[in-house]
Symmetry: C2
């Protein structure tokens, strides 16, 4: 758990799933892919359980003060042979609630992930960000990332 000002970065719990899905759905790319029904489709909770029991996956939230979940991020620690057998960190699903942007919450989440990856022996942290997310690319460059790769995707 990490705290700066009123924001706490902590592991997501089952009762955060609704807040996380609302953030995933709240953008032009995400709105087409998510299903923000009430109650939420059970597939979200099944996925949460798969994430929660995997020791290499960290689904984290940024909590504002005592209650509100205002950001999320998933970090996967992936063993592999390359780079002399160093693990890699993969960051996914970084979101900050629209009303809470420009407060450094995304930066706190990403810095948490970079520190955790380094502590877990990673020599590399990687992520894909959609070509249209120009602000996101600028944000990651500011945090030290290089736009060194092409991110290729195949959707079924």
């Amino acid at each position: 758990m990490a705290t700066t000002s009123s924001i706490t970065i902590r592991r997501a719990r089952r009762d955060d799933v609704g807040s996380i899905v609302a953030m995933l759905a709240d953008d032009p790319l995400g709105s087409a892919r998510e299903r923000l029904a009430d109650p939420l489709p059970p597939s979200y909770f099944q996925a949460f359980e798969a994430v929660d029991r995997d020791p290499n996956i960290h689904l984290m939230v940024a909590q504002d003060g005592e209650a509100d979940v205002v950001g999320c991020l998933q970090l996967c620690i992936l063993p592999g042979l390359s780079s002399q057998g160093a693990a890699r960190g993969l960051i996914e699903d970084v979101r900050v609630a629209a009303s809470c942007r420009s407060r450094g919450i995304g930066e706190q989440l990403v810095q948490w992930a970079v520190t955790e990856a380094r502590n877990r022996g990673c020599k590399l942290v990687e992520l894909l960000t959609h070509k249209t997310r120009i602000d996101a690319q600028r944000f990651y460059v500011r945090l030290g990332f290089q736009p060194s790769h092409v991110g290729m995707t195949l959707r079924f």
Copy 2:
């Protein structure tokens, strides 16, 4: 296990580690990162064991005939909340031995991974390929991938 002509796609074994590292080291980007000593640094074997015991990670090799390992690929199946809780497949470390290129071995490896990801419930397969690997990008587009994202990396 999957076979086409003389090539078999099978799970990597501990005694394949040397062949895999030789392929990872045999390119301009990889040669700077790997250490192809004899004996190999133990970190490679430790990484192999971490990969081998993780049910979500598949380190595969392409075997030519009875013996030679001529290609490799790692597929990670990653649970997550986005896309209604669908898992994602991440392909990494795709390599084909220099002497065996243009025989469709890379395509067999990637098609294996795409099929496996689909069978495991993924709705998305993603990968990062270095901006300078223009041939690789063309190859993935031919297999149905879109260069939709920027792949950002941070090395320690």
